[in-house]
Amino acid sequence: MSPTRAIALVVLIGAACTSTDPVASYVEDLQAIMERLTDESSAALPPGTTPTHDAVAGVVAARRTALASLEATEPSADLAPEHLALVVVFTDFVEAATEFLDETASLDPNDFREALAASTDIDTLAGRVSAACDAIRSRARSLGHTASLEC
């Protein structure tokens, strides 16, 4: 193989390894955002640890960061409606979580843990976030892409 052909082959392989498909690119971006959210949430409140107000605030901060990333993400045209729906419900979720933190800021640790257990108003919002993610997965699948989203 001539040097020119070898270089052309390397360029072609490199291009093939980089997602230029807008749907694939969007799915990769979304997966990265959700993976980071999982990592940061677990770092803020590791499994088995007692949930303090500061630790839970760290978890909510991770959600706020994820929301900012979602808002900055440009969806492919095929997934724009589903992306917008996720951003809307994710915003509601973060706002409700922030409101809860504000309302419980002055509680002592025991009362805070009781408030956590009693707070079920946010359950519906979590269901809507989950449904919005499922809608993206379903739409991506119909477009030939598999999205593994932890959301």
């Binding site: 999982t38 949430s41 949930p51 909510v60 359950d123 979590a126 932890e150």
Partner: protein, 141 residues
């Protein structure tokens, strides 16, 4: 709104044997995320009525109660699952050559909602292998 997952597997065991196994609370420790069961209770005719369970997914654990909501011998059995942080149901439908296990789950409370994405993914990815293992055990594998 609950998240739902299901998996279907072929089974060689007759439906009557599968049904009998489902009345043993320990059987349910091999289906879905449940990893231990105890304090089981049965009705007078031997139908499993309830048991307590613990489950692990995505590094988090729960303890809860399962209560039989439907029991149609040889056809379908469904148990409602409740705990402080997760609620749902698990059902087994029996057919001549296969069974379908379905699971519904949703978070309860602030903390569960915050980690639901991870837990949901773990439940969904884990169910197929758990159901396959259950079917192998029924077939004596």
């Amino acid at each position: 709104m609950a998240d739902t997952f299901s998996h279907t597997v072929p089974v060689g065991a007759p439906a009557a044997r599968v049904w009998e196994a489902l009345q043993d609370a320990q059987t349910w420790s091999n289906i879905g995320p449940i990893d231990a069961v105890w304090d089981s209770e049965h009705t007078a005719d031997g139908t499993l009525a309830r048991y307590r369970w613990s489950a692990n997914a995505a590094g988090r654990s729960w303890k809860g109660t399962a209560t039989t909501a439907e029991a149609h011998p040889g056809v379908r059995m469904r148990l409602d699952l409740t705990s402080s942080e997760i609620v749902g149901a698990i059902a087994v439908e029996l057919h001549q050559d296969f069974i379908t296990v379905s699971m519904e789950a949703s978070p309860r409370g602030f903390l569960a909602t915050m980690f639901w994405g991870t837990v949901k993914a773990a439940l969904e990815s884990g169910l197929p292998e758990q159901v396959e293992a259950f079917a192998r055990a029924l077939d004596g594998g």
